[in-house]
């Protein structure tokens, strides 16, 4: 089982990296890019036999407390 956590900057936080990537895409000729948000992707491999519900709860806790900073970032957690 794998947990996948995608962390993105909150809309209110200026994301100069996203803006720079967007500008570069535009310069390269890619059309129609309205905005780019650069974040992080974390993959966590769970030990065999791990209870999915318990893992979901624990990882939400970890994502909120440690893996993301709720002041500046949002996260999405998926376990598959």
């Amino acid at each position: 089982m794998k947990a996948k956590i995608v962390i993105t900057p909150k809309k209110a936080v200026v994301d100069p990296q996203g803006k720079t990537v967007r500008n570069a895409l535009e310069q390269m000729g890619y059309q129609g890019v309205a905005a780019v948000h650069v974040g992080k992707y974390i993959e966590i491999e769970l030990a065999p036999g791990t209870d999915k519900t318990a893992a979901q709860q624990a990882l939400n806790d970890a994502a909120h407390k440690f893996l993301s900073n709720p002041i500046i970032e949002d996260y999405k957690l998926e376990i598959e």
Partner: protein, 237 residues
């Protein structure tokens, strides 16, 4: 005065802080390794600059969970003075000891230069000795020093007079060009509501000798010394 200067793996301003405190300002200062669980008899804790734990995940995110930071939390809860410089400021915000967060500089560049600071209030253990109208010339050296907080937090910082320093030009004007990193309200440093924990991105410990281009950083340490002396006097009375 007894200072404890924390050391995390990849701290790199710990020696600058010890040098400024011990050799230039004549105080007692010692290193405290990140695995320590106690701070001994320190009056003040300095969380120094650097790239603690390689800045992995986010600046300060991992340092915040180190054993020594649990002791620093306890120390701060008991009213002890804590000063976070640069990465130390980032660690203190991650630890929740200071509000807000520090994000990537708006131009994505690492800035290493002297800037000017306007001291917003003398009402703190970190600013009480800074002469009014004195703009501090102090170096910065960071890539992620853009101060961010939501509107509610900013309003609270203003209402409680918690903004200690703002980036200004050589004449004390808070202009956008004087803001090296895009910090909201030109914020360079703040304190907590109780006023015993402060953090700033500039490096006062690198500006304590005129040989280094400025000794304005001394005013911040002199303020701490005065605050500690007042505390000792108040206790004795």
């Amino acid at each position: 005065m007894k200072f404890a200067v924390l050391q995390f793996p990849a701290s790199n301003c710990d020696q600058d802080a010890i040098h400024a405190l011990r050799d230039v300002l004549g105080q007692s200062a010692r290193y405290v390794w990140h695995k320590e669980k106690a701070l001994g008899d320190a009056d003040t804790v300095v969380v120094p600059g650097g790239f603690s734990y390689g800045d992995y995940l986010r600046c300060g995110a991992i340092a915040r969970f180190s054993p020594v930071m649990q002791a620093v939390k306890q120390f701060a809860d008991n009213g002890g003075l804590v000063l976070g410089i640069c990465n130390g400021f980032q660690v203190l915000t991650e630890a929740g000891l200071l509000p807000g967060a520090l994000v990537r500089n708006r131009d994505l560049q690492f800035h290493c230069e002297h800037i000017f600071l306007k001291t917003v209030t003398p009402d703190s253990p970190f600013t009480n000795k800074i002469p009014p109208g004195k703009w501090l010339k102090i170096p910065i050296a960071h890539g992620e020093g853009c101060y961010f907080a939501d509107e509610e937090t900013l309003a609270k910082l203003k209402a409680n007079n918690q903004i200690l320093w703002q980036y200004c030009d050589a004449n004390g004007n808070l202009t956008d060009t004087a803001n090296p990193n895009g910090s909201l309200l030109n914020i360079a440093g703040i304190c907590n509501e109780r006023r015993n924990v402060a953090g700033l991105m500039p490096h006062p410990e690198r500006a304590c000798e005129s040989l280094l281009g400025s000794d304005d950083g001394k005013w911040i340490f002199e303020s701490i010394f005065a605050a500690l002396q007042n505390r000792t006097a108040a206790r004795a009375a």
